[in-house]
């Protein structure tokens, strides 16, 4: 049990790629932090630096208050679950789990007790004699988890552990990992490019982009108040729609895509008067037949999902996705009146994509 702290961590690979730049991050004891970002943003690098598999170009890594920056992976007391599981192909399930304990000179009866206990937690009791190739993807995944759990390390690191599973299993394992981490109370860092995993699994969420932490907070905080347009677009599914906007009438009104105007909440954005900005609207925040300030828009495509209906409408020249509850009798070619609650608009500066908040009245 331990907290993990990264101070000004920088990683430049020998080929000149700067994978991480001055990353500060703190994972509290027993917390489950999910780091999410597009492929190539430096997620694996971050985990490998915590694990000690790569050397830092700058900064410090602390685990449980101890500076481990110069320590070997084995001395850091952490366990990692790899994307491709990295099970030892020639060892059976039992030995895959026992190997780390043997190398640490754990007494034999103790090894046996712990391996069987872990197998029991993961439902692997009947598979201890099997080789990895005789297991299904989900079972291999469990063995990889078991190999991490059996050592009762100070922290777990997960590098996209579910991305090789099919969709249904992924949802199931996602819940299972989360429950397991809760039950064991071990600090965890979980890396993924899947925003659904990010939203559902983390106590805390950090969004990584090009080697920098763009925002950190609870999943709902990030969903409600994305700090940048990038975060807004990355978190939430279907993705946030972005439209051009302009502030008018002393900051009180927002003109969207030259098509309609919305009165901003509170005192609006007086400093932005007359300036263009980016307007972010989540698909689920559109209302059909809402208040008087609605616009009629032509429907391009309807995707009924049963509990939800996705509608693509033509907003000026842009396609905008609208998500409505329930099955709705609309077909392409129809025109529908849409409106948005001004409190659910996200406004971002055009220059640096940073969030702009309306001033309270």
């Amino acid at each position: 049990m331990a907290e993990i702290e990264l101070n000004g961590v920088t990683k430049a690979y020998p080929n000149g790629v700067v994978a991480l730049q001055k990353v500060d991050l703190k994972v509290a004891d027993r917390e489950f932090l999910v780091v999410v970002g597009p492929s190539g943003c430096g997620k694996s690098t971050l985990l490998r630096l915590i694990a000690g598999l790569e050397t830092l170009s700058g900064g410090h890594v602390l685990i449980g208050g101890r500076d481990v920056t110069r320590l070997e992976p084995a001395q850091r007391d952490i366990a990692m679950v790899f994307q491709n599981y990295a099970l030892y192909p020639h060892m059976n399930v039992y030995n895959n789990m026992a190997y780390g304990l043997r190398n640490r000179k754990t007494p034999k009866p103790e090894i046996d007790r712990r391996v069987r206990e872990t197998a029991c937690i993961l439902g692997l009791e009947t598979m201890l004699e099997r080789k990895p190739r005789q297991l299904s993807g989900g079972q291999r995944q469990r063995v990889a988890m078991g190999r991490a759990i059996v050592r009762s390390p100070a922290a777990f690191l997960f590098d996209e552990p579910l991305s090789n599973l099919d969709a249904k299993l992924r949802v199931q394992m996602r819940g299972e990992i989360k429950r397991l981490q809760r039950r064991l109370g071990t600090t965890g860092v979980y890396v993924t490019h899947d925003q659904a995993e990010a939203m559902t699994m983390g106590d805390q969420l950090a969004v990584l982009r090009d080697g920098r932490i763009e925002q950190k907070g609870s999943p709902l905080e990030i969903y409600r108040r994305p700090a940048t347009a990038f975060v807004g677009g990355f978190i939430g599914s279907p993705a946030m729609n972005f439209l051009d906007g302009r502030i008018e009438e002393g900051g009180r009104k927002l003109r969207v895509a030259e098509m309609f105007s919305i009165v901003l909440p509170g005192a609006g954005l007086p400093e932005q008067e007359g300036r263009n900005l980016t307007v972010g609207i989540r698909p689920e925040h559109f209302k059909i037949n809402g208040n008087a300030a609605s616009v009629e828009l032509p429907v391009e495509l309807v995707e009924p999902l049963g509990g939800q209906t996705l509608i693509e409408v033509l907003f000026g020249k842009k396609i905008v996705t609208v998500s409505l509850d329930g099955a709705i009798a609309i077909k392409s070619g129809d025109r529908i009146p849409l409106s948005v609650d001004p409190a659910q608009l996200h406004l971002f500066s055009l220059e640096n994509e940073v969030r702009l908040d309306c001033i309270a009245a």
Binding site: R48, P73, A74, F82, N103, R133, R147
Partner: protein
């Protein structure tokens, strides 16, 4: 593709039987010849059924040897060949495993250069460097010894290269998982890399054992003491006797005996091979 056409099956079997016959017939003739007496051997045509001198001929070569060829018992020569072939095969595998491990997993100065140096020696077979090698072995006093017979043949660029290629296909995460599991370089090598390479090792062992067993020129050069004669050069000495006709029935008995160890190795290792091929990771 599975085809069910009787005539195709028939042709396939005919071809296979013909091939097997071409391979097996000379062996049969050699075996038959080794059971004849000196007189019946020279009858033309020689009988194609085994004669009655099996025990006599084989016990003669095994225990007493052929007088005109130095009278070294075949048992001694078989033993020498076995020791030499084993030392070469095991030595080659051990050294190439270690050097491939170093080249693939460790960063050290001139790593690339060293790899290319090893690679270039692939182009230099024993025969090309045989004289300088002889000079070195002679001045080290290793003539007429097992060390002299095997050590100069142990360095192997081919095996090093094969193991390197195999190690490069082992996923890097396996090394990382082992490091997190507290395995140092030696443990990773012993517990993970070697077990994973075992089918490669088995295949190479067969090839290298036969390579060592069949060495001819080198043992001929470095041994003058009959106690270190190997079987392959021994056969040659039996044939090129100076002032007598070779005793072919004894030569043939020796040939048959010389054939047995490589056959045993191939047959014994075949199981490991096939199991390895079936078990291979997708």
């Amino acid at each position: 593709m599975v085809e069910h056409r009787p005539w195709l099956t028939f042709i396939a079997h005919a071809v296979l039987i013909f091939g097997a016959f071409i391979l097996a017939f000379p062996l049969w003739v050699a075996f038959v010849a080794s059971t004849q007496s000196a007189v019946s051997f020279n009858q033309i045509p020689m009988s194609l059924l085994p004669g009655g001198h099996f025990i006599e001929n084989y016990s003669a070569v095994l225990t007493r040897g052929v007088a005109s060829a130095g009278a070294v018992p075949v048992v001694t020569m078989l033993m020498n060949s076995l020791i030499m072939a084993m030392m070469i095969a095991v030595g080659k595998i051990a050294i190439s495993l270690l050097s491939a491990y170093a080249i693939v997993y460790f960063r050290f100065p001139f790593r690339k250069t060293i790899f290319w140096l090893i690679f270039i020696t692939l182009m230099l077979p024993v025969e090309v460097r045989i004289l300088p090698t002889y000079g070195v072995v002679a001045s080290l006093g290793m003539l007429n010894s097992y060390a002299g017979l095997s050590i100069p043949l142990i360095a192997s660029a081919t095996a090093t290269f094969l193991f390197r290629q195999y190690f490069l296909t082992v996923p890097e995460e396996l090394l990382e998982a082992a490091r997190l599991d507290g395995a140092g370089p030696w443990r990773f090598f012993r517990d993970i890399l070697i077990p994973l390479s075992r089918t490669n090792i088995a295949a190479l062992f067969v090839i290298l054992f036969i390579y060592g067993w069949n060495q001819y020129l080198w043992p001929l050069l470095v041994t003058t003491d009959p106690n270190y004669y190997t079987i392959v050069m021994g056969i040659q000495r039996m044939v090129t006797v100076a002032d007598a006709t070779p005793q072919w029935q004894l030569v043939m008995a020796t040939v048959i005996l010389a054939l047995l160890p490589p056959v045993i190795v191939v047959v014994g290792m075949q199981r490991l091979f096939i199991r390895g091929l079936v078990e291979i990771e997708k």
